[in-house]
Symmetry: C2
DNA sequence: GTGAAAGCGCTAACAG
DNA sequence: CTGTTAGCGCTTTCAC
């Protein structure tokens, strides 16, 4: 607890460099409009004293924090069962770091936490927010809008109330799903089933819609609702096999679901992919490569999604952050997916 | 971008309630020593105006930020392949939230980032730091110590220089390893191999030492170095089978490693657990339950580790945060592990 | 180009 | 118990 008593202030640097506080401030913030010899002297003083600006004092006057909140609103433990969020965070972190912004992480465990998050965002602690994993019945969007903080969403928000042009980044869930099902069709499969994700999330809805795009005529009994978990995948797979013993392929809403389905198929003596071809979604490596057989799946670039979200937000916060390469501002950005072929289909 | 022009200040609340700023400040910060009717009036004014304290202004004078940095220093992608960090973060987040502290996440991608983290910590933006995943050759510990920020480490720090009493939270890696090996011995296995983790981390070293505690006499060829990844597990398992075809059990340093080993065993036609029993470490559910056969492993309560780290830090920052239940301050806290029996051993 | 001075919104003595 | 006052460390007009 013996603290490094007091850190040097602008004042101290100014004294040492023999200039005014204003000049030091200018140098510290880029040094425009200060003559070279002075810049040099100030720089040296900063160096010698080990001066670091006090962010609180700075924020007080600039009203900027150079900090962004990342809100992960996953009530259940699902988040933590997969690397999804870690990857997003990594992408976000890289981008924020590159622009000298800090990442404040807000994890919510349930409804009660939503108010807290709303309060925090409204409290003006951060310049903007990145929000994930909204569920259709979520109270968070309202709170966030009320907070008046620039926000970018991860995944297409699906609220029915006409939220005007929420900015978001998403994967091409529907297109990816179509690619998955077409792949199965290309394999000559005809009785293709689908285990959905949790249908209170747009990603699950979009993937199911993609399935339907290709299998418009499909027997409705071939679609069973899952929840993005292996247990859900097992349950759904059992139900499918009971209902339609003649199915010859399964498109699972994510890799975890597919892993559960694979287990049930093996347990029921179906060979994969010979009897039943299985395809997942995500390309979550530790899962997809670990299953038996390894999983054919639809890959989404999760880290890139994170990076893009951060980039979009930073651009809104300060147009100077815009890269030349940035596209015209459109409310939503949809990233492509690719098929990764392994052994299961 | 049309911003809610200016947020109300203490001044505004004071005016509305007909009291001084000081009184409002007192009420906002707990209201001790203010008479009830005034408290009530101020509360109402706060409510009506939607007043939220400006944290920057507050920090400027209190020199507290009610924010804690979480530093995850994993140069490689390993972090993101498993839920380990997500779980820790969750535990940390819960504890911090309960004490109204914010979580600032600092991810480092490599050496270059270390300086940045050091600077940030030294910059006095946060009241303390929680640091993970140190490697033996890491520059971070020095930087952190230099920053003079109260810190709690995740995992026993293993620097050779005599860092005095760094506070840390760890699992009982050595004891858990012993339990694992004893379990194999109890199964009647005699040729027990060990695939280590990355030996630049104390967790890997401690697990190996636990193995040796029980198998002091073991053939040294039965120990092969891995790196906590499935690929490393595969490679090591191949080497082991080549060296010692007669082995009848494997203790893998973590579940991911065990998963890789299982794959090689199957590929080589060894039945698990009949021919070779396999035991892992972590009880990382999405991995341990997904393997074939499901993995017997040593469970550590990762979320609890996170929670405990945060609790320890908060207690150092402000003794009032101490729970009555907290143990006497000891530099390191070691959490117990338990054996989870599934099918692989 | 550089310095002087006026706050940003809040807390913490200190009076009363 | 409540109000007055003096800054916390920095940026930013505005003169010089």
């Amino acid at each position: 607890m013996t603290e490094a008593v007091t850190r040097p202030t602008l004042e101290a640097v100014a004294a040492r460099a023999g200039v005014s506080r204003a000049t030091v401030s200018r140098v510290v913030n880029g040094g425009d409009g200060v003559r070279e010899p002075l810049v040099e002297r100030v720089r040296r003083a900063v160096e010698e004293l080990g001066y670091v600006p006090n962010q609180a004092a700075r924020s007080l006057v600039t009203r900027r924090h150079d900090a962004v909140a990342v809100v992960i609103a996953e009530p259940e433990t699902r988040v933590f069962a997969d690397p999804f969020f870690a990857l997003q965070l990594r992408g976000i972190s890289k981008e924020l770091t590159a622009h000298d912004n800090q990442l404040v992480l807000l994890l919510t465990e349930g409804r009660d936490d939503h108010a807290r998050v709303g309060r925090y965002l409204a409290g003006g602690h951060v310049d903007g927010a990145l929000v994930f994993s909204l569920h259709l019945d979520d109270a968070l969007p309202g709170l966030i809008r009320g907070a008046g903080v620039p926000t970018v969403f991860g995944g297409r928000p699906g609220w029915s109330d006409g939220t005007p042009r929420a900015v978001y980044v998403d994967s091409d869930n529907r297109g990816g799903a179509r690619a998955a099902v077409r792949h199965l069709v290309g394999l000559g499969r005809t009785r293709i089933a689908h285990i959905t994700g949790a249908l209170d999330q747009t990603s699950a809805v979009d993937r199911r819609d993609g399935f339907r795009d290709v299998m418009a005529e499909a027997d409705p009994r071939l679609v069973v609702e899952g929840d993005f978990t292996p247990a859900g995948g097992e349950r759904a797979m059992r139900e499918l096999l009971d209902r339609c013993p003649d199915l010859d392929a399964v498109f699972a809403a994510n890799d975890l679901t597919a892993a559960g389905a694979l287990r049930v198929l093996r347990e029921r003596g179906r060979r994969v992919p010979d009897d039943v071809a299985v395809i997942g979604f995500d390309d979550m490596l530790p899962v997809a490569e670990q299953t038996d057989p390894p999983l054919t799946t639809i890959r989404q670039d999760i880290e890139e999604m994170g990076r893009l979200m951060a980039r979009l937000l930073l651009r809104r916060l300060d147009p100077r952050n815009a890269d030349d390469t940035d596209a015209a501002p459109s409310p939503g950005v949809v990233l492509p997916t690719t098929l990764v072929r392994r052994a299961s289909a």
